[in-house]
Amino acid sequence: MTTPALKVNNLSVWFETGSGRLTVVDRISFSINAGDATGLVGESGCGKTMTAMAILGLLPASGVNVRSDGIELDGRDISTLSLAQRRAILGRDIAMVFQQPATALDPVFTMGQQIGAVYRRHTGGSKQQVRNKMLEALESVGFSQVEDIASSYPHELSGGMRQLAMIAMATVCKPAVIIADEPTTALDNRTRALILEQLKQLQELHQTAVLFISHDLSVVRQICRDVMVMYCGRLLEITDCQSLFANARHPYSAGLLSCIPQISNKRPAPIKSIPGQIPAPADLPSGCHFAPRCTRAEDQCRTSVPELDYANGRGVACFRPL
């Protein structure tokens, strides 16, 4: 069996507060093979970004608790690394594309300087070598006038261009794993299509494993083979995109699917939505966290927690799956 590029075992993240423990990521496990893209989907506040930050070890050391039975990068446990060791792998072996390039990029350096810095930090080389690699990275995400982009400051680029430049920054060292956190949210359809296309090309070219975080299943379907549905820190369903779209088994996954507006010739029927909203971490309902919003919930759902149950490669955490 091949070693997965990224393997997360039993990862939990929680805060200790005066009024008790707030769990934001609850014992999640998954793995992604080289060359595969897996989507992590759920509403805002369900713990998607926390999961990413915990994997990368970017959460502050005080105030927040992270525990896992190991986070493996190509078989090597990175959950126990020291700060210096971690710095050596971030950007080189595993990199992140952040949600808001406008705030993730440094406004006082040009794109060329910022991308070059990542490469120099990990690989070194002469000024010319660093510059060539930087231009190569910009070219690989689809820019043709790379010199022009390299000498631009982030504010001189449009939202979509900034996001592409950020992907160039994340891929300049050709990491084995990329975590992309809502990279296309708030971009228009055309720009979104372009960014997904470039990400997909890079992923196939370098056999990168991608963890793609989004609230939008229709975007995830365009780029990922597998998908995980998250709700209140728990994984409710793990399957491949095709099966999920064909027949979602968890009622929450089905609800998310029904929220996607469809384009049709005839005027569509009024859109359906999931009633209610995601509960705050401070007052999570007992049992299945989704039970209060679920039309299929029974007494058992409100008292005991359904665990992820695997059958035929699909995992569903539900007592009454569809």
């Binding site: 359809n189 939008d216 996607i260 507006p261 469809q262 009024p270 859109i271 939505s273 909203q277």
Partner: protein, 339 residues
């Protein structure tokens, strides 16, 4: 723009040859845009970011100063209105912004936020205002307890409901929703779209719905207008648009929205599209650089806006397209080829 014969009644809003520019006319945001919204209908204004959609919305409320053009609201040119008339008009046209976390004042309770427009326009006495607020908060699906809380105590979906309530409290005839659901999760977006659909049905309100997302526009728009680099390239009834748009750019947009990459599209060209610089009189079609159906004429002459004859006699909104392909729209052979 010639209006089609089918429309006999005055549109609620008519924008005629509107141009807006920034930086001493160096950057063109809106270039001679004409469109209209019949009463009770929703116009979806679509285009990539930077196409000038928001500037059109803002010009309607006189929040930006146009270079030229006229905007008629209920037949009256808003640029000829005096202060008092404009104030009265602003009561009838309300705006909902993209991000409720910044468009609601963090220091006011929901009640204070909702009360302000009523006091500003002096609508009713204190009792009537309180009653109105109670009604409106219920209409948007929030409980009375919401009134005494602050915006940060709500989720983004609830905040957007409050922003909608603020816009509705003056009983407007026209709502301008500028990317009102774009920053929301799909699940919350679905809830807000449901709310807007309810407002259309129960209040008969007209909406200028600005969005980059055609799937969202399909859900709620009666008519669709497409903007590109400041120009309006097409306006069609929604059913017609989604069963086959007329302009090549609209076709590209629709393929992207359906998750298909158009065959002719080459990703590397896109970065050339920085915002448009003024170059005097346009001598070509704005889309000619990227158009898959480009003809020699497209680079020599700016196309005129052509009315498209209606197949469906019951269609209400105008149907027009700004493209040389439709220069001889009455020529049947040509039409075959185009559609």
């Amino acid at each position: 723009m010639n209006m089609s014969d089918q429309i006999n009644t005055l549109p609620l809003l008519e924008v005629r040859d509107l141009s807006v520019s920034f930086n001493q006319q160096e950057q063109i945001a809106v270039d001679r845009v004409s469109l209209n919204i019949p009463a009770g209908r929703t116009l979806g204004l679509v285009g990539a970011s930077g196409a000038g959609k928001s500037s059109v919305g803002r010009a309607i409320l006189r929040l930006v100063k146009p270079d030229s053009g006229k905007i008629f609201f209920k037949g009256k040119n808003i640029y000829r209105m005096n202060k008092q008339e404009m104030k009265a008009t602003r009561q009838r046209i309300q705006l909902v912004f993209q991000d409720p976390s910044v468009s609601l004042s963090p220091r006011r309770t929901v009640e204070q936020t909702l009360l302000e427009p009523l006091q500003h326009f002096a609508i009713g006495d204190a009792n009537h205002q309180r009653e109105k607020i109670r009604q409106i908060i219920q209409t948007v699906g929030l409980g009375q307890s919401a009134l005494h809380r602050y915006p940060h105590q709500f989720s983004s979906g609830q905040q957007q409901r409050i922003a909608i309530a603020r816009a509705l409290v003056t009983n407007p005839d026209l709502l301008i929703a500028d990317e009102a659901v774009s920053s929301l999760d799909v699940s919350i977006q679905a809830q807000i779209l449901q709310l807007i659909q309810m407002l259309q049905k129960d209040f008969g309100i007209s909406i200028l719905f600005i969005s980059h997302d055609l799937a969202v526009i399909r859900q709620i728009a009666d008519d669709v207008a497409v903007m590109y680099q400041g120009q309006l390239l097409e306006q069609s009834p929604a059913d017609q648009f989604f069963s086959g748009p007329s302009h090549p750019y609209s076709k590209t947009l629709l393929s992207f929205a359906q998750g298909k990459t158009p065959v002719h599209w080459s990703g590397e060209k896109w970065h050339l599209e920085r915002s448009r610089k003024s170059t005097g009189t346009p001598s070509s079609c704005v889309f000619s650089d990227f158009c898959p159906d480009k003809m020699a004429m497209c680079e020599k002459q700016e196309p005129a806006m052509h009315d498209i004859p209606f197949e469906n006699q019951h269609a209400l909104g105008p149907h027009c397209v700004k493209c040389h392909l439709y220069d001889e729209v009455n020529n049947n052979d040509h039409q075959e080829k185009v559609f």
